[in-house]
Every structure is written in C-alpha cells, then in structure tokens.
Symmetry: C2
Subunit: 423 residues, 2 copies
C-alpha cells in the first residue's frame, strides 16, 4: 500500500491507508490510548483500543520509526481533523529515548544541548519550520534572479591568496603548500560579470574571526549577487529590493509555524545619505561608521517617515569600505555604497565597484598594497569591464531576523564557531 502523508488524511476519510513517520508522542488514558505519528507534513493521531495494541504501544519509544496501516475517520478534535483507527503498526527503525523532548510544544533545552544534539533537535516541528524559512528564502532568491536574467555561478572556495586584504582567513595545507578558504566570492562574481553580466552564487564563506558573539559564525552561507551595466549603486539597490520581495513571498506559506513576522517590502526602499544619517541621530559629522544605537534610531525613523522596515544608508566614507568600492562622483571621500538596515540592524552590504584597471591600481597603491597578488583577479579589468555592483546577504542572519532568533546558531543547521566543529 503506497504511503499517505499525514496532512493528506482528511482527503481519505473512510479509506484504509498507510502513514509512516516517527512516534512523536504516546498518550495512554484508562479506556483508550493515542499514538501521535510525525512525518514531514505534520502529525496524525492513531487510536489504540484493545489490549494487544496497548502492549505494542508500550514498547514503542518516542522517535521509533513506524508504518501504520489504519482506517481514516473524521474527528474534529484530532490534528488535521482526521485520525486513524484499527491500526496495524510495523516498526521501520528502532530508537532509544531522545536527548531532548521533541513532543513538547516548545523545546525547553538550552542552546548547548540543542547544538550538541542538532541531528535530533532539528526534528522538533518548530525548529524544522525555522530551517524551512531558510530553504524557502533560497528558493525565492533564485527565482527572483532567474526571472531577471541572472546566471548561477560556483566559484572556488580554495584560493591561492587572501581574497580581501586585512580580514582573517583560514589556512589549508594544499598538497604541501598554503591555500586559503575564500572569505567571499567577491572577486569571482565580479570577473563573471565580464562573462554573464548578471550573476549570483549561493555557497559557504569562511571567516577566521575569533569573535564569540551571537551573530558571528566561522562558516556561513552567503547569497551573493553582482550585475553589470548599472548607472550606480541605486540600480543595485533596486535589484536588492526585488530580491528581498521575492524571498519574503517564498517564505509566506511557512512563516507562522516558524514564528516569523514578515515585513512588507516597499516599492522603493527609502535611502538616506550617511552624512544626513549622522546628522539625523545627532552624531559627530566626522564619525566613520554607524553605531548600533544609530542604526536602531535610523530604523525607527524609516518606520515613522516611510512606514518601512527597510532603509538604505548610502555614501559610506571611503576609508571604511574595501578598496574596490566606487567613489561618489564629485566627492571621493564618500562612496557609491550602501548598508541596508532591516528593523534597525544592518542586513545587507552592497554598492558599486571600480571597473577600470587604472582605478584598481591607484586604489591599491593608496592603501600601500602591491598589485601583484591581485593580478589574476585584475586581468578581468585590464580587458574591459562594465560599470557594476552587487550585494551579499548572510542566510543565517536573514533567517534569524525573520524568526526573531536571539542567536544566529539557532538558524544554522550545524554551526561552526571558535569552540564548535561537531556534530
């Protein structure tokens, strides 16, 4: 008998069907007992009446994998409005009691227990729903870009040189010589603009930053976008707007289960210049960056003025941006770059990049860096590159913001940090 998902039971009332899943919970009352089976679509209640079934139920510990043949009976009180009666239960996979109580509506285990037992803890429906938000976001991200003529790329994670000066990289023993783990696909996505004009990549990036905070990981999934033939960073921001709208749309179906509060994405994301942002929050006009409290106040301002959860701050000072950042025309102290704040926190960094080889050579010289190490990458700029720009979104931070997680580790399947390399 082919398998029926628990969510489909109401469509099979009166029929004999087989459901398969995990023993989520057992409830043994004096007259009757219930077995709740969990599968990827939800929960189903199985009614167990007689003595034989009862004895079998006693032997079925939580998380045992079972196949249950039974008759579908409508019952408004059962999850989904239908339950199984007259069951015949077969064990497909045995189980010892799980280290976290998965049947409780909320997981009460602390973060270390959740992470140590990640393969089990993610089975909790509320946890699984959080990852489904991440997976749906990826679907929405790709769909929005596919519809706009972008090409998916995959760039190498093993690189011969550090990809961005100053940042901390992991070193790999590469057949006896040193290689490094890519901190971002930045240079590669730019090179590929020279080929496909509009590209994106979803892949791991690696940061050997010894930060032990709720928002840093040593490895995370970066959603990278880069596009050519732009006028300036505002064209990049317009694509970012559409991508965010596509991601939110894709998440909508499973948002409630994951506790996600979804924002509206305005037709046009409000923009404020860095200089004006400093003035708005009453900061020193020579401040090179925004403090977290500044970001929160700008976020509140955007809600007040534009009814928007999103606001872009553009024009960041050149000294705080990477060397490939395009200056603001007319005033090279500022840049054609932006940070996108979502509910008062920085979510995305993006902007226009330099596209002339001579400008790269000058920018590196100004920072006292030799161009030699960058030559394999700079060859794209020697041989014709259009004005271009892009942005990157960290998947785990994005999900954490949507579901209101207090720690990025709660939205990463198997987080890696200063202290954790397993499971």
């Amino acid at each position: 008998m082919s398998r029926t998902l628990t969510a489909q039971l109401p469509q099979h009332t009166g029929q004999r069907v087989t459901v398969q899943g995990w023993v989520h919970r057992r409830r043994r009352l004096s007259q009757v007992a219930f077995l709740v089976v969990r599968d990827r679509s939800g929960l189903a209640q199985v009614v167990i009446g007689d003595g034989t079934g009862r004895r079998q139920l006693d032997a079925l510990g939580e998380e045992t994998v079972v196949s249950v043949e039974g008759t579908v009976v409508a019952n408004p009180k059962a999850p989904g409005g239908a339950e199984l009666t007259d069951p015949r239960i077969t064990v497909l996979g045995s189980a010892t009691p799980p280290p976290v109580e998965l049947w409780r509506p909320a997981l009460t285990a602390g973060l270390p227990a959740l992470l140590d037992h990640a393969p089990i803890a993610w089975r909790h429906p509320a946890r699984a729903a959080v990852w489904q938000v991440a997976a749906a976001s990826l679907r929405g991200f790709r769909r929005a870009l596919d519809e706009r003529g972008f090409t998916e790329i995959h760039s190498p994670k093993l690189v011969g040189g550090s990809t961005e000066s100053g940042a901390t990289v992991f070193t790999v023993d590469y057949f006896g010589r040193p290689a490094y783990l890519a901190q971002s696909p930045q240079f590669y996505k730019q090179m590929m603009v020279g080929v496909f004009e509009r590209v994106y990549e979803v892949g791991p990036v690696f940061r050997a930053e010894p930060h032990d905070t709720v928002r840093h990981l040593a490895e995370y999934v970066s959603l990278d976008v880069e596009l050519g033939f732009i006028d300036d960073h505002r064209d990049v921001l317009a694509v970012l707007r559409d991508v965010l709208a596509g991601m939110i749309d894709a998440v909508r179906g499973g948002a409630a289960e994951a506790g996600a509060r979804l924002p509206e994405v305005p037709e046009r994301i409000p923009v404020i210049h860095f200089r004006d942002a400093l003035a708005l929050v009453g900061a020193d006009p020579d401040e090179p960056d925004l403090a977290p409290e500044h970001e929160r106040r700008i976020g509140r301002w955007a809600v007040r003025e534009f009814g928007s959860d999103f606001v872009a701050v553009e024009g960041f000072p050149a000294r705080k941006r990477p060397f490939y950042t395009h200056p603001e025309p007319g005033d090279a102290g500022w840049t054609n770059s932006f940070d996108l704040l979502f509910r008062g926190l920085e979510l995305v960094t993006g902007g226009q990049r330099l596209h002339e080889y001579a400008d790269y050579a000058r920018a590196l010289a100004d920072r006292g860096e030799p161009t030699d190490a960058y030559e394999p990458y700079l060859q794209a700029f020697r041989h014709g590159m259009p004005p271009h720009g892009g942005f990157a979104i960290g998947l785990e931070r994005w999900t954490a913001r949507l579901v209101g997680a207090d720690n990025i580790r709660r939205t990463t399947l198997f987080p890696r940090d200063l202290h954790r390399l397993t499971p």
Copy 2:
C-alpha cells in the same frame, strides 16, 4: 534611454535604441565598417559609414565596453536579422587586447592558456554556453526535487573528523587546532533525512587526492540527494531517473550552442546486477569492480537491448562500498547500491544506507574502526531513522559528458587541482 538586449533588436525595427556590451569584433572594409557588439543575449552588428565613426572605431580595441545608440534596420545578413545604423558610441570601460582571441568562432588557445586567462576565456560565446548548460542543470535538478517534496539543506564544509574513512582530506588550521574540509555531505544529508525525510544539497566538496587526470579535481560541486521511507535502492534509482529527466529538460534550450548532445531518459532505467554484468562482459566472477572497458561494453549492451544511454549496475560487492552501504537482503556479500552508467561511463553512485545504530556499530567493528569518532553522526541512528538512501552527481563531470568535453577542467569555472590554485 533604457538598454535593449541585442537579441531583442528585431522587435525594435525602425526605432532608436541603446545596446551595451563588449567590442567583439571590428571589420573594416573599404566602403563601410562594422562593429560587432556582444552582450549576454548574443551579438549585434553596428554599421559605421562616415570618417568620424571610422576613426572612433580604430580606437575601440576588442573587449572595450561600449554603449551604442543607433537605429534598428532589418538586414537578413546581420546576426539576428537586424543591425544598428547611425550609431553614437560611448565607452563604458576601457580594454587592452585580450590574451585569447574571443571573436574567432572556436577558441584556439590550449588548455593552460584557457585556465590562466579563465576570466577572459569564459567570455567566448561557446565557452559561456558550456557553463549555461551547468547552470541550467542546477535549475532542473532543484525544480525536480522541489516538486517532489524535498528540502534544500546546507551542511558545514569544516568538519572535526574525516567524513569517510580511508579517503584523503585537506587539513585546515582551525583556531590553532586541526579541522578538515568535508569530502561529501554524506553524513549530514543522512541526519537530515531524520528531520525532513527528503533533502538535497548543492555545494563544494574537497578531495585531496593527488591525481593528475582529466577527470579529477581537488574541489568540485556535488549535487547530493537523500530520501527516507524507501523500500530499497530501486526507489532511489527511480528518483534519480526523474532528476536526470528534469536536468535534461532544463538544458534543452541552450544545448546546441554548447555542442551538447542530449540523451533521452527512459521511463525506467534498465538495471543489471553486478554479477550478471561480469558474466555479460566475460569477466572473472570474483572481480570486485568494473573496469572502464567493462563499463563501455555494458553501455553498448544497454543501447542495443533497451535503446538507452543510461544503465544502472546494482548489487556491487560489499567490500568495494563504504561501511554505511545496506547489504542485499539474503546475501550480505552484495549490496543495495548502484552505479549509473551514462554512455558507458560511471556518472552517479547511489544506494540504500544502513539505518539501525546496531548495524553501524557492527559494520565499523567489522572494518576494525572505532565508533567513537562517528558518534556525533551516529546519534541520529540511535534515535530512530527510516530506511533511506541517496545519490550524488558531480556537476562538472555531468556537464563534461553532455558537451563532450575531453577534460573536466573545461567545464569548471576556476578549476583546482594538484598544480592550480589561481585565478
């Protein structure tokens, strides 16, 4: 004036439009000159008549990025059936002559030159079309699985222990202690079957195998699938069949340009047992594996008997398969695993896995391996796992087979091997 793609020109006959792209080629005849502009959609011919335009054309080296405003005129002899006249040309990005001749119908440069100048060489339309086959395959892969209730996952690439015994791994300096680069997401996708039942991952895998061959890379993109609640490996093969059909469908549009010869995927992929395959090719019945010549002969047999470019060999001897492979019921010398041959070459390996903790403990003991190192992974099996299995496809090999590339490096954007870490 907003940008028009070159492929859209025929829809704008008589209108004044702007195209943007690279100077692909210049042809200077006595009476007239032509500028061929390349953008992501194709080529457009620009007619240059007067002396001023002619002098400007002389200054526009190949690969210069230009914006060309012109009038669209139908011309059956022009690429796409339309050309631009009365042009006004603006330079968007300057260029020195490219290291490979991109305007020639076929790139004549040797493989080392192609790889050294990858950022430029990929601009050649025939090269770009090859990567588009890869990108389309990824789209088809995900679509087929999304439609079948699979969830996308992202597993860590930095791991605390070697993920598969015996194979060679890259070592990373992880905050002062050793970590390893994951050779496959095998264990993680299995654990996630315990959560989502059906999962897939597209991501890099790393192999420190010092093989200098046309089919080995130190880093490649693995398309991984794993699903629970199967009867045996034949259910895995059925999903693989649907995934391959989805990938081929997605590739169809751009196949010709990339020189790809697409196979038909039969409704049911023919299967032959390893034992019978040995007999078929007249090999010693004690052979533990198939030689390349055997694979080619089995491939020809499948074409002859079933008209199929695909054939699965099932039942491989246990001693040649990883410890997590499920034995064949009734004869533990064979396994519920398969290799899928495509045109006489192994393309995909898959099969059913063990799902009981006790079976893992026994399998590891039989191979003389301690279970301790595997415990973080084995906890999923202690707490209830369904019968499951899966497969993995290497993206670069897949593309190479479709387009008939003689070296996997020709289907990898930036290949990594024993000798190459840049660009």
